[in-house]
């Protein structure tokens, strides 16, 4: 199990670097798919089967497919990409450092919280469902409302050109 963990972690890190480093937008998107899939494998190894499956359905299966679809439709060529200015690169680097500075304390705290051995949880889908519809029903419904508003907003923005 530990060997598998390190293998998946390696894939996860390589694909994460690949997202940023590859010059082709479609390669980036595919690396991101690999990244999200390895996160799903991590969830599965922690016996969070429901989370793993939802991760694949939502991120790898729906969102990234649409991203890939748009990238292919636009057919972005390498020469069409504008070269980044020194200022942009500098600012991006600064932002990255700030993010790292925020992440370090968070990581230190969360390492302690990681369960050392994967516990066998039975019926975790049932448990997640129960929690979502009892204790967390308000945030859950609020999130669905937010998504609904986003969908309607996207359609409104896209269709505005065609209105008389």
């Amino acid at each position: 199990m530990t060997a598998l963990f390190f293998l998946v972690a390696l894939v996860l890190l390589i694909s994460a670097v690949g997202v940023v480093a590859s010059r082709n937008a479609i390669h980036s998107a595919l690396f991101l798919v690999g990244n999200l899939m390895s996160v799903a494998v991590m969830f599965a190894m922690l016996n969070a089967h429901f989370l793993a499956v939802v991760q694949v359905i939502v991120y790898a299966g729906a969102i990234m497919v649409l991203v890939l679809f748009v990238l292919m439709l636009l057919n972005i060529k390498l020469e069409n990409q504008p070269a980044l200015g020194k200022l942009v690169i500098g600012l991006a680097g600064l932002g990255g450092l700030a993010f790292l500075w925020m992440m370090v304390p968070l990581l230190q705290r969360s390492f302690a919280a990681i369960p050392q051995s994967a516990v066998d949880v039975q019926g975790s889908v049932r448990e997640v469902g129960k929690l979502l519809y009892t204790q967390y029903v308000f945030p859950f419904e609020a999130a669905s409302l937010l998504i609904m508003a986003a969908v309607v907003g996207a359609v409104m923005l896209a269709k505005r050109r065609y209105r008389a």
Partner: protein, 359 residues
């Protein structure tokens, strides 16, 4: 011993996939000939003769396999594909081009891991559950695998590096995304009906009454799932991504040799997968109507497995017959069917099933 059991399960599941896919290939080739009033493949091996007395029965079998076209469709075509030139178009990533067929096949093969293939039984003191992976999320795993099946097709279209491939790939991904919604909703209604995510438990719940008769609207879920299954395999009246009159061959225009065959294998495995899902969810799995098989006996499990395979083959053949009978949809008809007919029906169906469950 656990490892041995697991390896045997892997072997069996793999052979079930390959067996179903080969039978589908043969039925497709020979059945399409039957439907179109042709003869079809009947030459290779049909004239095998031998003077050795002991080999006479073998020659007899080979002759008949040849006349029925089995040798032609399963052996000769595969050998031909292996020795063909493996062409990779210029100006595209060779790695991605080689990866695409396998990304198209992998989700289908992996999906078979969670399908129960026979009732559980005891042998030599071991309790064996003929299902490769027992995961908590159950049926949802099928949805997850269905949703990543798009990548192989999209990549194949993109790495073809020409307009026909790209259009085929885009059509295929748009079609698969659109129909996945209806598929998800109809599967959710089935989950609500049985109250479990475990396919094994679902089949056990059908031991007296088949799933399609258990709820007044279960037949709606079945019809939606059947239509969506044909659309997801990109066959039948839904073969716009590879429509030969417009797009040469769609997303696999640039594929030749074994890679082309891998796409075909994936297509037939997917037909078998959807038939298996339909049988397990709605048509009782390995249960025979009015007959109770004894629990735990290995021979009962074997009979159950054969019953299940027979039912799966029935739906495979039904899909193939529909494919060779109905004309292709227009693109707007395809999208209207997916979004304006199947999706609302699936939603209403889900509400009805949930309401019946509560009240």
């Amino acid at each position: 011993m656990e490892i041995v059991i697991l390896l045997i399960k892997v072997f069996v599941v793999f052979n079930v996939i390959m067996g179903l896919a080969s039978i589908c290939t043969w039925v497709e080739r020979k059945g399409s000939a039957l439907i179109q009033d042709r003869i079809g493949a009947n030459r290779a091996g049909a004239f095998v003769e031998t003077d050795v007395f002991l080999l006479k029965p073998v020659a007899f079998v080979v002759r008949w396999l040849g006349i029925l076209g089995v040798i032609n469709t399963l052996l000769c075509d595969a050998v031909k594909a292996i020795f063909k030139e493996d062409f990779v178009p210029e100006g595209t990533s060779q790695f991605m081009h080689c990866l695409a067929p396998f990304m198209a096949v992998l989700p289908v093969f992996v999906s078979f891991a969670i399908l129960p293939l026979a009732p559980d039984f005891e042998v030599m003191g071991y309790h064996i559950r003929p299902q490769l992976a027992t995961i908590d999320a159950g049926v949802l795993f099928l949805l997850a695998m269905g949703s990543i099946a798009v990548y192989g097709v999209a990549l194949a279209g993109w790495t073809g590096n020409n307009k026909f491939s790209l259009l085929g790939g885009l059509r295929a991904s748009a079609q698969m995304i659109s129909y996945e919604l209806a598929m998800g909703l109809s599967i959710v209604s089935v989950i609500v009906m049985y109250g479990t995510l475990d396919l094994f438990e679902m089949v056990k719940a059908q031991s007296s009454v088949w799933g399609i008769f258990q709820s007044p609207t279960a037949w709606l879920s079945f019809i939606i799932l059947f239509i969506v299954g044909m659309a997801e395999t990109k066959r039948g009246p839904f073969d716009l991504p590879e429509s030969e009159s417009e797009l040469v061959a769609g997303y696999f225009t640039e594929y030749s040799g074994m890679k082309f065959l891998v796409f075909w294998l994936g297509e037939f495995a997917e037909i078998a997968l959807f038939s298996a899902i339909i049988v397990l969810l709605f048509f009782g799995g390995w249960n025979i109507p009015f007959v109770q098989l004894p629990e735990g006996a290995w021979w009962a499990a074997l009979i159950g497995h054969l019953v299940l395979m027979t039912k799966i083959m029935f739906f495979c053949i039904l899909q193939i017959v529909i494919r060779w009978t109905l004309p292709r949809f227009r693109y707007d008809q395809l999208m209207n069917l997916g979004w304006k007919i199947l999706l609302p029906i699936a939603m209403v169906n889900l509400m009805i099933v949930a309401a019946l469950k509560v009240f």
